[in-house]
């Protein structure tokens, strides 16, 4: 699943924005063709790290929108610092991406 990340620094705080291509199925939606409920498929965990050190962990549920856009902020990040986001979902699928603070 594709992932995009962006950073934005203002007033000593760096906002980390991550956009992930993911269906975030709740398990309640009915497939119009099969008439069966589409099983839940959603990101459960997002781990944010800066320069290899974990700064925050987000737990998500099915009420987070499709193609989740999650934003957090960190202190004292400098241009060039490595920001990594790793995610895992309820089916065991994972993804990760690293960018440099702009």
């Amino acid at each position: 699943m594709a992932m995009k990340m962006r950073t934005k620094t203002a007033n000593g705080e760096t906002e980390i924005m991550v956009l992930i291509d993911h269906p975030m199925e709740t398990g309640q939606r009915v497939d119009p063709k099969t008439k069966e409920k589409i099983p839940p498929h959603f990101i459960q965990k997002l781990t944010f790290s800066v320069n290899g050190k974990e700064v925050a962990v987000a737990d998500l549920g099915v009420a987070v929108s499709r193609d989740p856009l999650i934003k957090i902020k960190v202190k004292n990040a400098k241009p060039g610092d490595k920001v990594k986001v790793a995610w895992s979902d309820n089916k065991g699928e994972t993804g990760e991406k690293e960018i440099a603070v702009s």
């Binding site: 594709a2 995009k4 924005m17 956009l19 193609d67 856009l69 934003k71």
Partner: protein, 295 residues
């Protein structure tokens, strides 16, 4: 920039197949006069909305502050970035013969989208960016899902085309719409589009004008007010949150026709091409904002 415009109009189609019958000209066709009246209509209807803000779609209309701030939140990191990335990759990836999409277009495809759709004299038809992109693939001896599938039915193929078209429009972002109607055939196609625009259709018996002029800014009992026609096309291909993906403007025409319970027409149909020509001409002077989040 007349010469550049003429070059753009030559497009890339080879062969001179005559398509259909030459439409009859409207007796007093005067697009420039239509344009003047159209702009005056909206200036009078929404005196506080500045002309260039219409490029934002209905988020520019009065009373839309709450929706606009949600839209601005989306724009900080637009949801269509993933689809747009796929489109950018497609645009940049060379064909097997080593050429890229850029080679099919005047100026490498940069700063030309503001002239689309255009009247192509050689084939006597209106051509859209989608059509030129499809033909670019064929011209280079290749196929894609969007060059072979029925785009009215195959969502995946159509979204693939929408992503690519979005990447193409992105190269002209900010350029002001400028449509050449100097050819008689162009004016005839414009008049066809105009006829469609003003005709009532569907069980709900609405014309485009009823909703997007008379009722622009008003809510028809749902969750969204109707958009103003001024600025309609400049945000397309667009991402609607209900779709969760970029889509073509013809898909919006089709779904809108369905919403008034009229029969939706096919992607790439001459009727929608002509409608798109009419609508886009009426947005002359507005800056392209595609791709964008729209309603």
């Amino acid at each position: 920039m007349r010469s550049a415009r003429s070059r753009a109009l030559r497009g890339l189609l080879v062969g001179a197949a005559l398509v259909g019958v030459l439409p009859t000209l409207g007796a007093h066709a005067d697009p420039a006069q239509d344009l003047k009246q159209f702009r005056e209509y909206f200036k009078k209807k929404f005196p506080t909305v500045r002309f260039h803000n219409y490029a934002s779609g209905f988020y520019a209309l009065p009373g839309m502050d709450d929706y606009r701030s949600q839209w601005e939140a989306f724009n900080e990191f637009p949801p269509y970035e993933i689809g747009l990335d796929a489109g950018r990759r497609e645009w940049e990836t060379p064909f097997k013969n080593g050429k890229t999409y850029a080679s099919c277009f005047v100026n490498g495809g940069k700063n030309i989208a503001q002239h689309y759709p255009y009247w192509h004299e050689a084939t006597r038809q209106v051509r859209t960016a989608e059509m030129d992109l499809i033909d670019c693939v064929k011209h280079n001896g290749e196929e894609r899902a969007f060059t072979t599938a029925d785009l009215s039915k195959d969502t995946r193929a159509r979204v693939q085309l929408a992503n690519l078209t979005a990447a193409f429009y992105e190269l002209s972002q900010g350029q002001r719409v400028e449509i050449d109607l100097s050819a008689p055939g162009a004016v005839a196609a414009y008049e066809e589009g105009k006829r469609f625009w003003w005709s009532r259709r569907g069980q709900l018996n609405f014309s485009c004008a009823n909703c997007h002029m008379d009722l622009a800014g008003k809510n028809l009992g749902g969750n969204q007010p109707l958009s103003a026609a001024l600025g309609h096309p400049v945000g397309w291909p667009a991402y609607r949150t209900v779709w969760g993906q970029l889509e073509t403007i013809h898909q919006r025409y089709a779904t809108c026709n369905s919403q008034v319970r009229a029969k939706p027409l096919k992607q790439g149909s001459a009727t929608y091409n002509n409608l798109q020509l009419y609508e886009t001409y009426l947005s002359s002077g507005l800056p392209l904002s595609a791709p964008s989040v729209r309603n």
